[in-house]
Amino acid sequence: MSSTNTTAHSVVEPTPTVKRIAGAIVILYALVTMVPLAWIFLTSIKSPPDSISYPPKIVFTPTLEGFCNLFTTRTRQTPDYIQSLPAPTGTCDEITRSRNMVIAGPSNYWPRFGNSLVIAFGSTFLAVSLGTLAAYGFSRFRVPLADDLLFFILSTRMMPPIAVAIPIYLMYRQFGLSDTALGMILLYTAVNVSLAVWLLKGFIDEIPREYEEAAMIDGYTRLQAFWKVVLPQATTGIAATAIFCLIFAWNEYAFAVLLTSGSAQTAPPFIPTIIGEGGQDWPAVAAGTAIFLVPILVFTIVLRKQLLRGITFGAVRK
């Protein structure tokens, strides 16, 4: 046996040529899939004429016009009127005036972005908190009908969002929760908590009971043992779950477009509504999209290990 073990590694290890070919194909695929993303960032710093030129421009003079148009609302004015104004106060002011327009006020982009932040982080915090408690309960105690409950909790995710939205719409209208951040937080929490319980139960199951039992023998109550022994052990699992909840809530569109319209509207339903004069203002749309994607890109790169663990773990356990 020992002789096969020493040679085993070389048998299973692919040859350098195989590795090189595999690497080349994977890298090519990765680069091709990055093209749309790169195009979002490139378009966001193009001027509107550059963005719609044919053939598509890769070399161009970068401008902040897209971002200016994203953050402001503008009105068209006569050149005479613009001449009579005092000197422009900022870059955006200058760019806008060069298009024979003046800034009328801020756009709704940052308020919508703020709503997205509040709703995504609020619901993630709630879903993970509730989910951790429930997962611990399901993991450590005998709960009557636990399996049925867990399966049922999970199956609620199979509902098409529009199907859920019909009664939620009526219910929220009744209780005054339509178009409120609280309503959206509660809804996203309910959607996410099912996945959170499921994922976290798996993570907590992996923590040996003996840890808490030792702590309880040491004089901790069950609650203290949960707080000081189990929670620190479950941090990775909680982080992985939190990223999932956050990504779902951040990206969600169907509920947001049906249940919010004004003050509580999040960024996903807002961004497609960005329009300029005579059609879609693509640099502004690209700028709004780019800003919206940056937090997720940072999360993906910084927390890739937890993310990978969460995706495969969640999938394989089900």
Partner: protein, 322 residues
């Protein structure tokens, strides 16, 4: 399992038990375990009852009525099973189901082939494979609505990057085809975006499957002089199959419900060529305001997904047991 306590915790627990044998009985303070179990689980159950179960029951009730959400004060009458009969006899709804099936079939096929191929290549463990795995995952983290909206720009007939690249490689003039505007191409425009976004997910699950195959099986095959081709079909594919089937299940459920990407890319058009079930449901519920009828349709959809998923899981378990 060994007799000797293996983990540090077990050992320390034992030591503590030996050191303090008389004090254990005193330790029952604070909440009882039973109280804690309920304290921990009740909030989640209460939330799910309020936001999931109660609306679901309400939807079931509404599906037997002629209620319309834009006329909240009109008298609500029970109509028995008429809503269900109408939905099931509506040819438009069957066309929407066919559109959905076409979309689900092709996205799953493409994503499984691409996802498995990329996972297999990544599992060759070339230098830098961990980095490129992360890069490949990026599309699936993005918002289907927000990114789908930007794909509309890529698909513009004259100025879009997609048309430009296609014409660059094939010589077809970039303004001669409209990905989103033509009846023949619009379904494929959506399938391309969905595959771009979700093949990485299938890849990741397949990768977990490939990594779960122990090396000694390949070593044994090598000793038996099985060819690489034979090893692939007799070891790699069958042992990764439960994982591939799981990925298919998740993508199937998700794409059956597909709404946001289609809504932003085509809105169901041109005409109703890309009108998948969720879009039809949205039209009936929030544009025609046929609340009762759309509730019946929603419940039919839910039962269909749930039933199909259960049959599929049974098949999956049979594969796993082999």
């Amino acid at each position: 399992m060994t007799d000797a306590p293996s983990t540090i915790a077990e050992r320390s627990a034992e030591m503590l038990a030996r050191a303090t044998p008389t004090t254990i009985a005193v330790r029952v303070r604070g909440f009882s375990d039973r109280a804690i179990a309920w304290l921990f689980i009740t909030p989640t159950i209460a939330l799910l009852l309020a936001i999931n179960i109660f609306p679901l029951i309400w939807a079931v009730y509404l599906s037997f009525t002629n209620f319309r959400a834009n006329r909240p004060n009109a008298e609500v009458e029970g109509v028995g099973l008429r809503n269900y009969q109408r939905v099931l006899n509506d040819p438009d709804i069957w066309i929407a189901m066919q559109t959905t099936a076409h979309f689900v079939f092709w996205t799953i096929l493409l994503q499984t082939v691409i996802g498995f191929a990329i996972a297999y290549l990544i599992d060759r463990k070339f230098r830098g494979h961990a980095f490129w795995t992360t890069v490949i995952l990026i599309p699936m983290m993005l918002s289907p609505a927000v990114v789908g909206n930007f794909w509309r720009f890529l698909y513009q007939p004259q100025i879009g990057l997609f048309n430009y690249i296609v014409s660059f490689f094939t010589g077809i003039p970039p303004s001669s085809f409209e990905m989103l505007g033509s009846v023949a191409l619009a379904p494929w425009a959506i399938i391309i975006v969905d595959t771009w976004m979700w093949a990485p997910y299938v890849m990741l699950i397949c990768l977990a499957g490939l990594r779960s195959i122990p090396d000694y099986i390949y070593e044994a095959a090598e000793v038996d002089r099985a060819s690489a081709w034979r090893q692939f079909w007799s070891i790699t594919v069958p042992m990764a199959l439960p994982f591939i089937m799981l990925a298919v299940l998740f993508r199937g459920i998700e794409n059956f419900k597909m709404f946001d990407m289609v809504m932003l890319l085509t809105g169901g058009g041109p005409g109703s060529t890309t009108e998948v079930a969720s879009i039809t449901l949205k039209r009936e519920a929030f544009e025609s305001w046929l609340t009762g009828r759309s509730s019946a349709f929603a419940i039919i959809l839910f039962v269909a997904v749930f039933g199909l998923a259960n049959i599929y899981v049974k098949a999956l378990n049979r594969v796993k047991q082999r």
